[in-house]
Assembly symmetry: C2
Homo-oligomer: 82 residues x 2
């Protein structure tokens, strides 16, 4: 399964609860697309959120995020990891 | 220790070896700044590289990256994780 890093902009002021709820909304439906959201990191000050996912495609990642109500602004495959 | 996500643009065509060498160059000197680079992900096609670090400040992360020869284009604190 390939790994993807997606980025959300504009989440200024996001709280720990909001991040947890958004991540849970992804987890609740991710199986429909064969995706697994591994981890997410957020910066409430700049409004950047980064999500790491295992997925069959970037499109599958986006479909989950869209249905969960938070479309990603960028999705990049990250085939190299260290 | 705070966590930071930094981003490098323009690394189009980066190979697994180059990513590993760049990461090792950070690891070799990170203790001078009290930084630890936890993980890095790269997309050779778009040239995006994401690095997760534990560090006392964004400036400390940047000093390590600069000395290692690969200044980051963005560094964001990521106080929220899920």
């Amino acid at each position: 399964m390939a790994q993807f890093m997606d980025v959300h902009h504009g989440m200024v002021g996001i709280t720990a609860d909001q991040l947890r709820q958004a991540h849970q909304a992804d987890l609740d439906i991710e199986q429909d697309e064969g995706v697994h959201f591994v981890k997410a990191w957020a910066d409430p000050q700049s409004g950047m959120v980064y999500c790491l996912a295992e997925a069959p495609s970037a499109e599958a990642v986006q479909r989950v995020h869209e249905r969960a109500g938070h479309k990603a602004d960028e999705i990049h495959p990250v085939p190299l990891t260290v």
